[in-house]
Amino acid sequence: MLIKIKNSWELSENEVTAHSVYLSRREILKTVGFMGVGAASSLIMPGIALADDGLKVQPNKYDGHDIRNELTDIRAVQGYNNFYEFGMEKDDPARNSHSLITEPWTVTVDGDCENPGKFAVEDLIDFNALEERIYRMRCVEAWSMVIPWVGVSLSEVIKKLKPTSNAKYIYFETLVDEEQMPGQRRGVIKWPYREGLRMDEAMHPLTIMAVGLYGKKLANQNGAPMRLVVPWKYGFKGVKSIVKISFVEKEPNSSWMRLAPNEYGFYANVNPNVPHPRWSQATERRIGDFRRRDTLMFNGYGEQVAHLYDGMNLRRYY
């Protein structure tokens, strides 16, 4: 079997693979049957032109090409979501998020930084410098996906805003608008949805502000127009449809910490050794798989991020 390892100068996934091919991946896998995924992709994927509505992406060294053969079906990525602003069921966001208006979109930046103010998405994100990042996404509910995100390192956004030395943490909020987000009519969570990162976590090159996936702009149910992706943390850290960024000195309280502090901590690093009080985190089910697989420490990104937590008791800081 031919195993193809991508070089950094080669085209990225979305430049060589049409959306329709992504969509028919299951059928492709079925037709090739026992041939194996690697052989299938090297036979079928190359040489197919990109659809016009695709986002242009730049080659980069964090693209995650080693897991490009594990991509989760786009129908699952766009149809199986936790986004309580649009309802509690997994298919509610896909059904209800059409009411979200993402253009124009204003992000308010405040706190300990030199460039506070109101920004459009294009002010914060350089659309000529977008990168494709194929990341594992591990939900705290013990399921996972592999998603080809499009975005920029959050550090690039932060550099534009110039936090001062007082800024120890970055804090995010999702939009609050009952008209656009019908799920907010019920106070399941105290809206807005809030999340935060320690500054060194936020500056880590793996942490991205995503504006697209599968080479196209984010669907509303995935957190359009921009959302956070922190691949070594549980999915709920990836705050969606961001309207506020604050640089703060004290550790912010996230929505899930407020809701159940004994179950969800500020760090929320993927850790198979620290169970959720109500279920094990040792294994996970990759969407599309039948059997569970072992969950990896830091979701498989330990080599890059473990040093951020040197000397910390990860049972205490879960």
Binding site: K30, W143, P275, R278, A282, T283, R285, I287, R292
Partner: protein, 206 residues
């Protein structure tokens, strides 16, 4: 062959959810489009758990309904109760086979370390003797003890609702509705019992 059309109807309605589930599972198995979401095993867990609780609550409501309305439906209670066991069994098998695939260390850890799972497991275990003894043979043979044993249904339903409440991540609306229904059914029972006693005392005095 039973000539009681009501009984036939109850059986048809009770197996419908399971038939739908098996049909959807067969579509899933053949990689065809299905309604079990992108995470079918999680969906099956919720589906079978919800139907178990619904059947437990229906079982508990049969006797109050009889007493308040005078409908003669007590004879169907055993069938409904057995369907509660049937859906509980599906729920249990889904957990053991499809979800954890006999991963005993993880399953045992779940049962002994996680109260939410403990409540569910205890409820299911207690339901087994009730299901076994619901044949006519045991009803006759056990006489008064049968009544006593089957009082366990109260504990089982309470545990099942607690299990349901504890498993939910954020939105407790449905488990709370289940709890309210359960609480009102229990209150009705206490009320009826109290009333019966008053009536019998009056009779004795008269």
């Amino acid at each position: 062959m039973t000539k009681d059309w009501r009984r036939v109807l109850i059986h048809i309605l009770s197996v419908l959810p399971a038939l739908w589930l098996f049909w959807q599972m067969s579509l899933w198995y053949r990689f065809l489009p299905h309604d079990l979401s992108a995470n079918p095993i999680e969906y099956i867990t919720k589906f079978t758990g919800d139907w178990t609780i619904r059947f437990l609550l229906i079982t508990l409501s049969v006797s109050p309904i009889t007493k308040f309305t005078g409908w003669r439906i007590l004879k169907y209670r055993r069938a409904v109760g057995l369907y509660a066991f049937f859906y509980a069994l599906l729920h249990f098998l889904n957990y053991m086979v499809l979800d954890y695939f006999f991963d005993w260390p993880l399953i045992l850890e779940d049962i002994f370390k996680r109260p939410a799972i403990t409540f569910g497991m205890v409820a299911f275990t207690l339901l087994i003797p009730l299901a076994i003894t619901s044949f006519k043979f045991f009803i006759k043979k056990m006489a008064k003890n049968w009544q006593k044993l089957h009082q366990l249904i109260y504990i089982i339903t309470i545990f099942a609702v607690i299990h349901n409440y504890m498993m939910v991540k954020a939105d407790v609306l449905i488990p709370v509705i289940h709890a309210i229904i359960l609480a009102s059914l229990l209150c009705m029972r206490v009320y009826l019992k109290y009333n019966n006693r008053k009536a019998s005392i009056k009779k004795q005095l008269a």
